[in-house]
């Protein structure tokens, strides 16, 4: 069965330091991977996605993620954290074996990122 794991409920990082939010996945076929961010009282905002191609994906607000097939991981990274990055981050996956019109994606439980000033 398809699944996503975000092993850390919370990550604390000092402002200006690099940050990493971890994500691992399990699918039957090839994975299509996504990161979303959720601010309080707001819906999910798309950050980036990996469909195919370069393993390093660059997204919004200076975030990037690295697809590692051997480790089945898709960790979210940023070289220098900002206080405004504090939010709830969700990793999500869909299976390439699903039909293209299948909108279903599987979300992780989320990781709360705290950037300390």
């Amino acid at each position: 069965a398809q699944s996503v794991a975000q092993p850390e409920d919370q990550v604390n990082v000092a402002e200006g330091n690099p940050l990493t939010v971890k994500c691992t996945y399990s699918v039957s076929g090839n994975p299509y991977l996504f990161w979303y961010v959720q601010y309080p009282n707001r819906g999910l905002q798309f950050l980036l996605k990996y469909i195919t191609g370069d393993n390093l994906v660059k997204g919004s607000y200076g975030f990037e993620a690295e697809f590692n097939k051997s480790q089945t991981s898709f960790h979210l990274k940023k070289p220098s954290a900002l206080v405004s990055d504090s939010a709830l981050y969700f990793c999500a996956v869909r299976d390439s074996m699903w039909e293209n019109r299948d909108d279903k994606i599987i979300f992780g439980k989320g990781t709360r990122l705290h950037i300390l000033p």
């Binding site: 996503v4 299509y32 979303y36 009282n41 707001r42 819906g43 999910l44 905002q45 798309f46 996605k49 469909i51 969700f90 999500a92 869909r94 699903w98 293209n100 019109r101 299948d102 909108d103 279903k104 994606i105 599987i106 979300f107 992780g108 439980k109 989320g110």
Partner: protein
């Protein structure tokens, strides 16, 4: 350009009641999906509407039903509410059926069942 809008923002119901949530997709979008986000959990896919038809469905009972109108707006209906239905309900829209077109999410409707 307005993004995805949802109404109402908050809703309180009692067990056994019925509820209708509404969603207007982003301009130019014709596909609408609904997700349930329980407290402390990630969103779970409920169903997807395209061309006024339910195209895909997640693992939710028949108490959850929906509708899409000719203007692409959508409703989510939940009958016989249970305490466990308390959650944030998110609507997402995109252009076309293809999954790799980016989904845009609304702010959600917070449903509390007492």
């Amino acid at each position: 350009d307005a993004g995805v809008t949802q109404s109402p923002t908050h809703l309180i119901k009692t067990r056994g009641q019925q509820v209708t949530l509404r969603c207007s997709p982003k301009s130019g979008h014709d596909t609408v999906s609904w997700y349930q986000q329980a407290l402390g959990q990630g969103p779970q896919f409920i169903f997807q509407y395209y061309e006024e038809e339910e195209r895909q469905r997640g693992n939710f009972p028949d108490r959850f039903s929906g509708h899409q109108f000719p203007n692409y707006s959508s409703e989510l209906n939940v009958n016989a509410l249970l305490l466990g239905d308390s959650a944030l309900y998110l609507c997402a829209s995109r252009a076309g059926e293809e999954f790799y077109n980016e989904q845009f999410f609304g702010p959600g409707t917070r449903l509390t069942v007492l």
